[in-house]
Amino acid sequence: MSDATHAAPRPKRRTTSAYPSWFYLPAAIIYAVLFLFPTVASLFFSLTRWTLFDATFIGFDNFVQFFREPFLVKGLVNTLIYAVLTSGLKVVLGFLLGVLLTSRIIARGYLRSVLFFPVLVSTVGVGITFTVMMHPTTGVINETLGLFGIKGPGWLTDPNLALFSVALVDVWKGVGLATVIYIAGIVSIPQEYYEASLIDGASAWDNFWNITLPLAKPATVTVIILSLIGGLRSFDLIWAMTKGGPGFTSDVIASVIYKQYQAGFYGLSTAGNVVLFVMVAIIIIPLSGFLNRQGDGQ
């Protein structure tokens, strides 16, 4: 409908004034002042030693520090590990659960609800709950493992494990969203494909690989992009569970930004922001371009 009218020549000047450009204004002012301007300003302040009142230009010192100090480099590496791990797990688990929950199994509604509810719950609340449950000696998880004679690890106290434990909780909280995105994607696959493959005598396994997986690709792209952006920025869960500890073994860029801000190193903190921005941009932009282009080719 609207396409047809769109193609028609526009009748009069008066009609176009139904859409005044000043409708952009309220949103534009808030966005420009509180988002765009600080983002642009961050490029400058990241090159300074900054007290909020005066800024001394020091060139790229902050960035040099970011790539030299072991605990800052650790933050960079951890951010990548965390983002890739959480989004990878969300894609795989979300897809499998999506297939499961669109198949004919009992209690589908219950399963969807149970899976989705954590998405809506406070991240800090979830973080604190799991921190208590992951206590190395008296936590619920390790006591349960103990019943089976397994000595559970120090989930959040072992420096090699803390980041992964937090990532698991992140997946626990976020997999419901990935699953409902996949459900929406899988449901929109035309039934004819499955009917045709049934006639061809294809197995369920063939359907899974050759129909569901490729045709659910838009959902896969959405899940990957959303969870990568979320994972790279992730702060509240890590802060609620480990505060970057033990030591700085589970620090990510976002927690480094907060720590440097608390310590009063505003220039360094802002440099962290710029590093995060660049990191998100060089990962997300080419990736989404690549994923979407591939989709068009099919």
């Binding site: 139904a18 949103a27 619920v140």
Partner: protein, 275 residues
Amino acid sequence: MNYLRRNWIGILAILVSTIVFLVPFAFIVLTALKDKRQSSLREFSLPNGFHLWDNLVEVIQTRNYMVLTAFVNSAILTVASVTLLVIFAAMVGFVLQRKPSAWTGLVNFLVLAGLIIPPAVVPTIWVLQGLGLFKTLHGLIFIEVAYGLSFCVLLFKAFVATIPRELDEATIIDGASPLRLFFEIVLPLLRPVVITVILVQSVAIFNDFTNPLYYLPGTKNVTVQLTLYNFQSQYNTSYNLLFTNILLITIPPLIVFLFFNRQIVAGMTAGAVKG
């Protein structure tokens, strides 16, 4: 037996999901029911009495009724920012979809930038201080609007496309102003997407922890997520109170979940099919 064999995947899924997803919530509820001594054991066990009411009273009275203040603050924050978001984002989405102009490309670019770019924290604090908005609730309201705009504009823009253009033209020919056209004709027709935006953004803003932490520090203007964070150290040994607080702040999302599950899922999966 036959039933079991036919439905074993479903039964297995129910078992696993119950353990993995319901046990943590059960743990919250059980611990909130316990007294201080029993809760300090951190066990997954039945409480030896019903102490929820005592815990509730104590949590509410802590630090001069801080939780109540926080609930009021979070309510104001959520309602105000979501209202502004709906109106401002709908206005942008409407014009952006209807009138291609020199601005369209730039606006589309800025919308995507808003989705991707992580906010620059300290410079934002600096700007807020310059405007006298730092550590104020209305300052945080504007922040939430600024950060939420992109997502909402995308939703509105997609939905405006489904409203026939003839309607606008007819209304304008009848002599209505663009403002009346928007508020009396278009906005009511956007109802489904307005509901989606309200739900998704309410949950996000109510649960927001990072932005209040940065832009609204101090105990005077605390929001609910920060009470939890503040009490974490204070309740170091009183797990019953800590978990009563968690239970309290889980209630609003639970209500949304119970009544609007379908709409919120629709909002969060919008765009998944198109990619």
